[in-house]
Symmetry: C2
Subunit: 197 residues, 2 copies
Amino acid sequence: MDILFASTNSNKAKELSKLLPNHKILLPKEMGVEFDHEEIALTFYGNALGKAKELFDIVKIPVLAEDSGLCVPALGGEPGIYSARYGSDGVNKLGDKERNLYLLDKMKNISERKAFFVCSMVLFIDHYRFYICQETHEGEITYEPKGESGFGYDPVFFIPKLGKTAAELLPEEKNEISHRGKAGRAIASLIEKHWSK
Amino acid sequence: MDILFASTNSNKAKELSKLLPNHKILLPKEMGVEFDHEEIALTFYGNALGKAKELFDIVKIPVLAEDSGLCVPALGGEPGIYSARYGSDGVNKLGDKERNLYLLDKMKNISERKAFFVCSMVLFIDHYRFYICQETHEGEITYEPKGESGFGYDPVFFIPKLGKTAAELLPEEKNEISHRGKAGRAIASLIEKHWSK
């Protein structure tokens, strides 16, 4: 089945395509739809639902959406829902590399390095029918970026049991344990076992 | 696995027990926990999440919660999230029978009888991990109550393809097609196939 993914992030779309191999994940631009949602909710699931609803109201077909981010308890949960905008001045957005250095700078005098990624994924069938699966991935903030794979905060996110950062993992290894992998598999199992029945 | 259900409604607990035959559904009172959540959200999923969070913060173990109701488009979506409190004066709550008569009275001059039940069910594992499955069941409002089975609005909810009200169905027949049945099976499939892995 073709599933429209409410995002402009082709990295996330690629990860999702691997999680839903029986379906074709389309980005709005591939359907000729302009979509640039402003995230105004105060929760991951609120932002994911907001994106899904906005795109659903345009296309009137089921939509997949997600919001994700990194939470660092020692920073009071920052960057959290502001992960993609962290360190930005409201006009210019930092690139992944600068944003990671900004986070490491904030953490420079902090020895408590625990952190977790969160992913809230939504399958929005219509305004009264939807599924939300929100999952986490636990790790630690490194002292310097490491690895070239993945995207976002992956190079500064260390996974103790693997002895590697998320950016040192192959895409399949990352999907196996990541927040987006878990949420995506949960949504995928609902699509396969429940919704399409 | 024992799963705590954030409710005081033993009818709903009975329905859930049938949907999750591999698990024991416990009500808070059966664990000696006082629980009487005030529903303040403006959405079904918001109320379900609110109940789950409140009980989770007391018991610190995974919690199942749901909010459900009847929406009548010709009444602007009423009774909706206020289904259990519909027709009440804020002090005394109507019983199921009086509430159904109250609804039928509101509908007495309305020929457009379409209606749907909504159920939002939540499995709350912790504050960052949870699943929400929201499902619907479409039907029509009768002109008079019919049937003795079920509870709530079941006697005034007619299912055209079966030619019966929800209160004329056996519990198993109702679970097969109902909003709560669908949402419960979706959550059950996540518990079996995803969460417990």
